[in-house]
């Protein structure tokens, strides 16, 4: 039994020596599964877009969504600034940048809600057409990921306020950042495929 445990401890130390952090590896594995999740939805959207082009896509407001894209890109920037701050032991800086991230995430969701209401006003609904179904499913699931990220940002912010993170202990911030940046990467792809191409 003790040999078994020693084996695990050795494997853990070997992984650390190679620069592999278990929490980060776990997050990357989760993000890999998320690529497949969004991959299915994006592929379905592309299939409908190529085979059943809809005039409803002309109702999409590219400048508005462009502003939203800019908000999400800026929120990724504030996350890395927060991480840099805590690496220096600047807890106040981390709190400030996490608060900015949460605000930018909330603004993105506000913009998305406005877009959804506007499209519904034009008769584009979740069950009204193939375009509506694939559009709202894809962007809706992305919005849900932003919402989860927003809750996580606030939770990380609360942890930072309680002194959970220091210059030597910031893995929790880093892992949150990986998730948030991934959501940003997904949006970069969605913005191109849904609104530009």
């Amino acid at each position: 039994m003790s040999e078994h445990l020693t084996g695990h401890a050795d494997a853990y130390r070997s992984g650390r020596a190679l620069g592999i952090q278990p929490l980060k590896l776990g997050m990357w594995l989760f993000l890999a599964s998320e690529v497949m999740f969004f991959g299915g939805l994006i592929s379905a959207f592309l299939h409908y877009k190529v085979n059943n082009p809809s005039p409803e896509s002309g109702l999409l407001d590219v400048p508005l969504v462009g502003v939203n894209t800019f908000l999400l890109l800026t929120s990724s920037f504030t996350v890395v600034l927060g991480l840099t701050a805590i690496r220096q032991g600047d807890r106040r800086g981390l709190i400030r940048f996490l608060a900015a991230t949460a605000l930018l995430g909330a603004a993105f969701l506000g913009g998305q809600a406005y877009e959804f209401v506007s499209l519904y006003g034009h008769g584009v609904t979740l069950n009204g057409s193939l375009f509506g179904s694939s559009f709202f499913t894809l962007t809706g699931f992305h919005g849900l990921h932003v919402l989860i990220g927003l809750v996580w940002a606030l939770s990380t912010l609360a942890g930072a306020a309680r002194g959970r993170y220091t210059a030597d202990r910031f893995e929790g911030v880093e892992v949150f950042g990986l998730y948030w940046h991934f959501v940003d990467v997904v949006w970069i792809v969605l913005f191109t495929i849904i609104y530009l191409v």
Binding site: I42, V80, G89, T192, Y195, L196
Partner: protein, 94 residues
């Protein structure tokens, strides 16, 4: 000493992040401007795809630290991405 090293590295790191952010913002502005111009879709679609790939790669390499972290993370992430690109590419066939 350790604190000094961390602080010495934080400045350049912040500058790198700021440059990456400015490039991302500029590429997004180009995309929006291009979408408003009456450019042939056959011409602008590849440009949009290349710009999108460049932006996603910049975020992954710099903000997600794949450039400096263990190659294992890159491998774990890139395999499903390649599968996705292949699969999504097949969807473009009418």
């Amino acid at each position: 000493m350790a604190t000094h090293n961390v602080q010495a590295h934080a400045g350049p790191r912040r500058l790198t992040y700021a440059i990456v952010f400015l490039i991302l913002a500029a590429l997004t502005a180009i995309e929006i401007a291009l979408s408003l111009l009456a450019v042939d879709p056959g011409l602008r679609t590849p440009v949009f795809l290349i710009l999108s790939l460049a932006k996603a790669s910049l975020v992954a390499a710099f903000f997600m630290h794949l450039r400096q972290d263990s190659r294992l993370y890159t491998f774990v992430f890139i395999v499903p991405v390649i599968l996705f690109v292949l699969f999504a590419g097949l969807m473009l066939i009418p």
